[in-house]
């Protein structure tokens, strides 16, 4: 069919531009200016560690992989997001504590307040990753996605899981459906809520589990897919504000077992703990916790089984003991430290444990 006289032929250079754009799109490469910006906060961990040789799946050294090495190793990231890196630390997760947590959350809040930033990803050692993730879940002041990621195998290992975990974390951080879901943990193609997730295996790549309550979704090859939205209060809906804090109250955990000694509990009272988490029970805890309560220390009852809630018992409430809901001891500690920045009232802290 002949073109109608009024139709001007498309200028050649425009056709060329169109072809170029099509070409770029078809390969998944977009100009950097249009890519969503993700800030990558690195703290270290196995994902940034090196072993002597590639069969070394343990006995590797933390702090060996710089943020630049991490991102240079994964050029695929540049095709989906503009990555900006901020190094918080380069240590194993055992080295993380209140100073690093406060530095990290302040940096994340500053970044997410920028309109040009779509989301944040945090690298972390896996052993205490759930504690940091839950701390961020309670203190980040944004609905933008925050994803904490790690690896079970070092940067140098055969079949290392780190690169794909990192790639998938960035995918989640730029997924619109991830907005408002709080802090998430992404490993092994699975998206966990920081509220539920716990490390459930010492070395396997599917280590992170959400007992009773499952994951939020998955980072499948075709798309990032969500099945759940968490309901407990978090991030932009949280009442905790750490922006002016330099430290967090001292809270420690005692483990319950047959014939558990009263000594740790008494030592914590002497050492000046503001809160104590009982990880399960022991006969000696009764006297010890009464003593703690009489000295104004807040006592929270958690449980070592790793699944199920500590139910609200009128008996414990009468003694002033707070129940930890379904939080394991290490996460109950995170919440209690933040609760103690606001109040020492047992009823008020129980409300906090019921709603976060």
């Amino acid at each position: 069919m002949n073109p109608s006289p009024s139709t001007k032929p498309t200028p050649l250079f425009l056709q060329g531009v169109c072809l170029c754009v099509l070409f770029i799109f078809s390969f998944g490469f977009l100009p950097a200016a249009t890519l969503p910006k993700v800030v990558l906060f690195t703290t270290g961990g196995t994902i940034q560690s090196k072993g002597e040789h590639r069969d070394k799946l343990f006995e590797y050294t933390d702090g060996k992989v710089t943020p630049k090495e991490l991102t240079d190793d994964l050029p695929e990231l540049q095709t989906i997001a503009a990555i900006e890196t901020v190094e918080i630390s380069n240590v194993g997760s055992g080295e993380i504590g209140a100073p690093q947590l406060l530095k990290l959350v302040k940096a994340i809040n500053a970044a997410l307040a920028r309109p040009d930033v779509t989301g944040a990803v945090v690298t972390h050692g896996t052993s205490t990753l759930e504690e940091t993730a839950y701390f961020l879940h309670l203190t980040v002041k944004s609905t933008k996605p925050v994803v904490v990621v790690g690896a079970m195998r070092p940067f140098t290992a055969i079949s290392r899981d780190g690169p794909f975990n990192l790639y998938n974390s960035v995918r989640v951080a730029i997924t619109p459906e991830a907005v408002g879901k709080g802090v998430m943990v992404v490993l092994d193609d699975t998206i966990h809520s920081a509220r539920f997730v716990t490390k459930g295996n010492t070395y396997h790549v599917d280590t992170f589990v959400d007992r009773d309550i499952g994951p939020l979704g998955f980072t499948d090859s075709d798309r990032v897919v969500f099945y759940r939205t968490p309901l407990s209060r978090h991030t932009s809906n949280s009442e905790f504000d750490v922006s002016i804090l330099e430290t967090l109250p001292m809270v420690d955990i005692v483990y319950g077992y047959q014939e558990a000694s009263a000594a740790p509990l008494e030592a914590l009272i002497t050492a000046g703990a503001k809160g104590i988490i009982l990880n399960d029970g022991a006969p000696s805890f009764k006297k010890g916790s009464l003593k703690a309560l009489s000295e104004g220390i807040v006592v929270v009852q958690s449980d070592r089984k790793g699944s199920g809630r500590v139910v609200l018992s009128e008996h414990s409430a009468g003694r002033g003991v707070i129940t930890a809901d379904s939080l394991n001891a290490q996460k109950a500690r995170v919440l209690l430290r933040l609760a103690l920045t606001k109040t020492t009232d047992a009823k008020e802290i129980q409300r906090i444990f019921n709603t976060y």
Binding site: S193, F218, S221, D222, R223, V225, Y227, R228, L231
Partner: protein
Amino acid sequence: MRRMNVSFRFPFFCFLSLAILSGSTMAQEIPAAYAPKALTLPHVVLISMGGTIASRGDVRLNVSNYGGKGMRVDPEVWIHDLPDLALYARVTTEDFRQPEDATGGMTFEYFYKVAKRLQELASDKTVDGIVVTHGTNTMAETAYFMDLVVNIHKPVVFVGSQRPWTGLSGDGPLNLLNAVRIAATPEAAEKGVLHAMNQLINPARDVTKTSAYRVETFKSVDVGAIGVADPDVVKFYSEPTRRHTYRSEFNITTLPATLPVVEIVYAYTESPGYLIDALVEHGAKGIVVDGTGAGSPAGDQVDAIKRAQAKGVVVVATARTRGGRVQDTIKRRESGIIPGDNLPPEKARLLLQLALSKSSQPAEITRIFNEY
């Protein structure tokens, strides 16, 4: 259909004391310290579609051969045996059981009957929540069907038991009590049709029976439960993101009298193509292939699917792994097979039947499988 209002004639406290004094063998004494949660209790409608929970065995140890003619538990017997229900709700019962001599399990006739009744109850201002009992073998299917076709905001809770009402350490009484507690909980609203057994609350879409006889059998494989019915509180931790009930485009009031025929074939080493040919011959409009691994048909199924598609039959792939999603891969797109997401084949079948009642366009059906 029989309807019975067990408590409307009496003030609440009067009913409660009568119920406790009636002293059934199953009901334990209610500790005096327990007070009703509210002065005006929610009204929960308890619909019986039967099931093991509505069956009795000859002796207490008989937990595998029960029910049938003369061995059923009428809904009012539950109320009699469980005066504890009156602590949480004013419960009225409705009987939607199949006839005593019915064989072959649940039917679409009853799907429609119950869905229509649920739709009526949705706008009944005197009703706060609904509990439906059902046999456990196919209850996940029935619950999912209701989840897709009933436009309702109120809690709807499916419940059953693994052991008959008369069984030793029967799970039925506590399951039923918890189901009523959940249906009477305002937070249970707008979460789609729920399933509750063994203190766990699962969405109808995700829940599936995973063990033939153990009491811990219903799980949302991969995605987990969304809440718990613990002794102290009913608590929700998450909610489903997929479309359901009041967010569904399907509704029982506008469904055709019969849905398009969709059947299931299972994939395995050297699976033949003639089963698919036979289904097409019998007039199936859709076929769900429960594929191996990531959802792949096997053997001669591959060619039989092409023959079926040439005749306009829509093919959906599920994965027999019962965990993980069937993904939207280039190969699958080229073969015109629609990914069934993470649905088991029996649920993919129901969704495909509903989808086919509206459209036979692969793009439209793919959208439906992505959204529900």
